[in-house]
């Protein structure tokens, strides 16, 4: 019988930034890992995939998403969220700790790991909070949390507003080699803010969220990185000014890294002209000059990674007055296709660089042995059809959420298959039935 543990992918366009590969080649998988060769015997029994015309890339790594559980299973579950991730080409995702209960304790992290073992179809790496209850007052027990399985620590959208606490949190996390992920928002400047402060907020009469609210914290984080020598990763950067501050910090060899969300590479505040609550995101969509600067920063390496920033909500939660709608957009399924059209199809960057920022870029931020086709590594990979046309709609949506703003959009590339540990999770752009 055909041995499901042996896979031969024939004739794919292999793009593997970790190993500098960009060539048409065969790829071999045995017992869930990439291998250099298969024996003639093994080839006979192997499952053979003809991948002519498809790109074979390492599975993508997402540093910033929410999967609903625990506490918000009406929005998303580990099953639906990881299926959506797989459909978007992600094989490893880092989840944010603003769960219910808050992921600031060992028990909740253990619960997440148990639920993921039972239901997740991609690798889920939970982050914990930096401080208890995300309150920015007392440090979370990050040493014990690391033992329980966290990959990083962040107070996510609460941020840590007190610089002394932030300094100590960085030092403490560094003790355990934990990277601190920081959502950069000076909340004193964003009270009641609904969207980017600019001409659109003035026209729409919505409270503005100035770039400075982010840039001030990006700056203070760089200063604290210099003081503590601890690693800080700046989450979903949205402004040209932030990119410039990070560029200087990196030139000064500060231990900072950064990410940008797909939506910020794709859209601007002008998209909010019709008060579309699905585009109410944190940080807010900014102006064309910011979008252009973020793309430049992605190209020159100032920004290390593209993230989904998947923040599922139910359609009911978003079906209300703009002021009352929760922040966040569901983005996992469309992340690659949207980024491809915004960046590659437009000629801003080649597909190899896009894949770099989705694989080795994020993997290096957290020191993960993911995002690679190296021999011996887990066989997490995707096949991408770069020449197609498909429309994302509620029929092919796998996420449980009701707030993907790109519903109804047509894309020119699509994830064809996704393999996690050598097992097909998505095949022919559909979930593989277990």
């Amino acid at each position: 019988m055909s041995n499901k543990n042996i896979i031969l992918v024939r004739g794919a366009h292999v793009i593997d930034p970790a190993n500098g590969r960009d060539e048409v080649a065969d790829v071999f998988v045995k017992d869930g890992k990439f291998v250099a060769q298969l024996s003639a015997e093994e080839i006979k029994s192997a499952e053979v995939l003809d991948a002519k015309g498809l790109i074979l890339s390492p599975g993508f790594v997402d540093l910033n998403c929410r999967l609903g559980e625990p506490g918000r299973s009406a929005r998303e579950t580990f099953r639906t969220g990881t299926l959506a991730a797989a459909l978007g080409g992600f094989t490893t995702v880092v989840t944010m700790p603003d769960t219910i209960p808050t992921s600031d304790n060992v028990g909740t992290i253990q619960l997440i790991r148990e639920l993921c073992d039972a239901h997740a179809v991609v690798n889920v790496l939970p982050a914990s909070t930096l401080t208890k209850q995300q309150e920015g007052k007392a440090l979370a027990p990050m040493g014990s949390l690391k033992k329980a399985g966290i990959i990083a620590a962040t107070d996510t959208t609460s941020g840590v507003q007190n610089n002394e606490i932030m300094r100590r949190a960085l030092e403490y996390a560094n003790t355990f080699n934990l990277v601190v992920l920081d959502h950069c928002q000076d909340s004193s400047m964003t009270e009641g803010a609904q969207m980017h402060e600019g001409t659109w907020s003035l026209r729409l009469g919505l409270r503005g969220w100035p770039r400075a609210a982010e840039e001030i914290v990006v700056s203070s984080d760089c200063v604290l990185a210099s003081l503590t020598k601890a690693r800080i990763h700046l989450q979903h950067i949205s402004s040209a000014g932030s990119a410039e501050i990070i560029r200087r910090a990196k030139a000064n060899k500060l231990p900072v890294t950064a990410e940008v969300s797909v939506l910020h590479l794709l859209l601007t505040d002008a998209a909010l002209a019709q008060y579309d609550t699905r585009l109410k995101v944190n940080p807010p969509l900014r102006e064309e000059s910011d979008r252009a600067a973020l793309i430049s920063a992605l190209i020159d390496g100032t920004i290390d990674a593209i993230c989904s920033d998947h923040s599922p909500c139910t359609s009911t939660e978003k079906d209300c007055e703009f002021d009352l709608a929760p922040f966040g957009a569901a983005t996992l399924e469309t992340a690659f296709s949207a980024a491809y059209d915004a960046l590659v199809a437009t000629g801003h960057l080649d597909v190899k660089l896009l894949i770099t920022r989705l694989t080795t870029g994020p993997a290096k931020v957290l020191g993960l042995d993911a995002g690679t086709l190296s021999v011996g590594a887990a066989a997490d990979f995707v096949l991408i059809n770069p020449k197609t046309s498909w429309t994302f709609n509620t029929e092919n949506q796998l996420s449980k959420s009701g707030n993907n703003p790109l519903i109804g959009k047509t894309f020119s590339s699509r994830i064809h298959s996704t393999f996690v540990g050598g097992k097909a999770v998505i095949s022919d752009s559909k979930p593989v039935q277990k």
Partner: protein, 313 residues
Amino acid sequence: MAQQTTWTKKDLTGIETLSRAEIEFLFDQAEKFLPALAPGKGLDLMHGRTVVNLFLEPSTRTCTAFEISAKKLGAEVVSINTTASSLVKGETLRDTAMNIRAMGVDAIVIRHSSAGAPRYLGEVLDISVINAGDGAHEHPTQALLDAFTLKQKFGKVEGLKVTILGDILFSRVARSNIHCLSKLGAQVTLAGPATLVPLSLAQAFPQVRIVHDLKAALSDADAVMLLRIQHERQTTTHFPSLAEYTSQFGLNAERAAWLKPNAVVMHPGPINRGVEVDSDVADGPRSVILEQVRNGVAVRMAVLHLCTSALKR
């Protein structure tokens, strides 16, 4: 381009989406309703129609004006204020509106603290939705009655210089007036402290002029529109105190003398006497404040009549 001769909108959510022809068409209709303002002269154009005033933010003047306008047209009116509303019990705006709709209502007049709420409701409902003020976004009937009053005073709005003075940043009245006056060909100047009149407004509204010097803002104006300084929003971050505001930007007799001889003083009400305007100016010969109130009924009659007439029956 052919002159617009009909009104096809079931909703009035803002001035930004109206054309000049639509505004002028509405003014013609309002003009025809002026005689109906006399006691005992009500009409029956909306006989059998029901209008619900859904006011989710406190209002006396606008709510009353809409109520009288609807009644002058022969409609039945129900007014719901924020405390009577089930919204405080956690019902969504959609559910509240759908329930009102299910009771056979023809129009909802909504005031809401959230910008964009009337537009949202207009998309949800197949009955008329009239914006009576949404957050800091628009207050279209106020701008229409203001421009209607200017037209009455000066014969036309085209070419007039109008200064809007005060809290522009948080003002829906200012936004609607900027759109309305610009569309009708007036030149708009925004004046006040830089915290309430930021220079960025000139990027959002390229047709306006921003002036922080009061004398310069007043000396060539045909009309000055004062905005109410909002006690409830008065924070120490946008201006130091009411007294400081009055001393720097309040319109008193001395400053009113900077105006051209025939210039008029306008105010959307309610007036804070002695804060943004002194009583001798508010009650003086330049003031058209009570004409604004009176015209407000005719303009709102026109809005209710035109929007409900555009409904598919």
